[in-house]
Symmetry: C2
């Protein structure tokens, strides 16, 4: 069986559409991956996530290594069986979250030592341990272990951090490759760093390409630099990466971020926004974001989005969604998460169709007109 094969079916400007064939299923690109942090896409059953159109989900190494623990997941048959999701899973390396969530971090050439934010227990993550954890989980797409500095740090810090991440990328490659069966069934992605510095991005891309990966992520964006600066980086960063491999923009983003990034040649995305916003009463619609907590929805008998065919929009009024969100009912989180994930998948499908039909520019213009208002 094919381990990993990326085929580009059509391009339109810098935008591409295609598919990634893997043993557990095919991933249509551009793809949005719902985030399943702690072995669950929050407030969703996995069969519902699939029914909305997701081909792949993301799991977080940092969360899973702390609870329930990678060795435990392995003893229970791996992450897919554990969480009842049998299609591809991409796992991050833990590098980003260990720096943003844990306590008492200490960064060395070897890796990062830290204390768990859950129980204070002490752990170490290195490129080798990250590869081992992702292998124990049974990940389909493994991410190289990297360090992601804040974009507003001085250039020499950004450069030193990028160089460290590239040394870790090589150690990740080596650690992945000794994974036996798992290495023969799964894929490894490298992560480009360099923040908003074009020269550092080029050096990073060259080092990654020399090591060689199945796909390439663009890391270190969507960390507070704003959409304009992110798009400026995306005007050059994707083209530095191999054309025949998928490009994955990590942690992005808002619907208009996705459209602008696809326009610039990105193939894969993940973000907690549709799920987290849904739990907070925020919905994404073709006419822009809607806050269901707002009192103006209290007697609105219309659907959340008249253009949306999802179960939430066909069965419930804005008034009902307002009620369950305000009452703190779990069903409010369930219904808005389902709508938001459906909206994101509809948006990806519409972009794939527009690229295939050679109408992406017109699609993007129409989307922005309706969405940004």
């Amino acid at each position: 069986m094919t381990r990993f094969a990326f085929t580009i079916h059509a391009t339109d400007g810098a935008a591409r559409t295609g598919e990634i064939a893997m043993q557990r299923g095919t991933i249509r690109t551009p793809a949005f991956m719902p985030v399943g942090t702690a072995a669950t896409v929050k407030a969703m059953k996995p069969e519902s996530v699939r029914a909305l159109g997701a081909d792949i989900i993301l799991g977080n190494t940092y969360h899973l290594m702390l609870r329930p623990g990678a060795e435990r997941v392995a003893r229970l048959g791996g992450l897919h069986k554990f969480m009842n999701w049998h299609r591809p899973i991409l796992t991050d390396s833990g590098g980003y979250q260990v720096m943003s969530l844990s306590d008492l971090r200490k960064l060395t050439e070897e890796g990062v030592t830290f204390k768990s934010h859950i129980d204070g227990s002490k752990h170490m993550l290195t490129p080798e341990r990250s590869m081992e954890i992702q292998r124990l989980l049974g990940s389909d797409i493994v991410m190289a272990f990297d360090e992601c500095p804040r974009a507003d740090r001085p250039r020499d810090e950004i450069a030193a951090s990028m160089e460290l991440s590239m040394r870790w990328a090589k150690r990740s490659r080596d650690g992945f490759d000794i994974g036996g069966d798992h290495a023969e069934r799964s894929a490894l992605f490298g992560i480009q760093q360099g923040a908003l510095d074009q020269d550092l991005r080029r050096i990073s891309a060259e080092k990654l390409t020399e090591i060689g990966f199945d796909g390439y992520a663009i890391g270190g964006l969507a960390v507070g630099e704003g959409q304009e600066a992110m798009f400026a980086a995306l005007d050059y960063a994707p083209a530095m990466l191999p054309e025949n491999a998928p490009r994955y923009l990590m942690g992005v983003g808002k619907p208009d971020d996705l459209v602008g990034a696809v326009e610039r040649g990105v193939d894969m995305f993940d973000c907690v926004l549709p799920t987290r916003s849904g739990r907070n009463g925020q919905a994404f619609t073709w006419a822009g974001p809607v806050n269901l907590r707002n009192a103006r929805h209290a007697e609105d008998s219309g659907p959340l989005d008249p253009r949306c065919p999802c179960p939430t929009c066909t069965s419930y009024s804005r008034a009902y969604l307002h009620h369950v969100i305000r009452a703190g009912e779990i069903l409010g989180a369930m219904l808005l998460t389902e709508h938001n994930l459906s909206f994101y998948q509809q948006l990806m499908a519409a972009m794939r169709d527009a690229i295939a039909g050679g109408t992406f520019a017109g699609f993007a213009r129409g989307f922005r007109r309706d969405y940004l208002g």
Copy 2:
């Protein structure tokens, strides 16, 4: 179309099985009604509640009158449309919850004034207003407005309270009957009171029967008296009520409570236990209750209940349920609520089958052996 028709298909000792035909659907008895307090059965989509076998759910007048408000629900097309449940709904009268949940209650012959526990707003509930609210909601089975005293009050207080509830029952009947269209499509149940006093229970039953209702509830039990005392009251209370009308034991109960009550002639039940317990990590199984928070489940790859065909038991291990409950994940509440409601419906179906087959005593013995251990 039939407004309300109760047919008993079979009896076995005091236990009966049959069905209630109503315009929005047929209710198989003995029936368990999942509780949908605030226009949602917590952590469940309505189609899933139905798929588990529920023919009818319960809504709470007290909660709905405060949020989103009965008049608002009426303007939005009624409770069924609002919450996307199109089968029968029984609404309680608000009498019980106004005494247990609200602040600054004042009880008079006229009714109860109280302050909302949500926003401190002042409200009054009377038999007439309770009927009006249940009509505005579009309830299929309306409950008479009553007062439910604690079972440990002195006999003269219990007696006075029961007499007040019987005067309110007559006012409820009158208030319901002037409801026009709604009265022609829905049913009204009276509520027997009298706590653990057999004479008061008889007087209450006589007064209710004289007024005349479509069904009769047994109120004032399951308020802390214990199973033995409740069963002692159920040895005489159901037989005081008309044989050809459904008997509804309010707010009950644990699985073994349901078996003992059906054995004594009860036809309908509601209780928050399966839903509330599910959210707290407590599951009901044929082998007794299981607390999924317990560390002994952390690496248990077996199902919650090997005898249960529900989606939770067929797709997830105890280890996974332990993980999502301990991590506070919404999916934990969803999966355990679904299992518990499924278990309750399986139990009701098994009791209906046993009564129809004339094997209820054997069923009850086997159930207690396995469940109580």
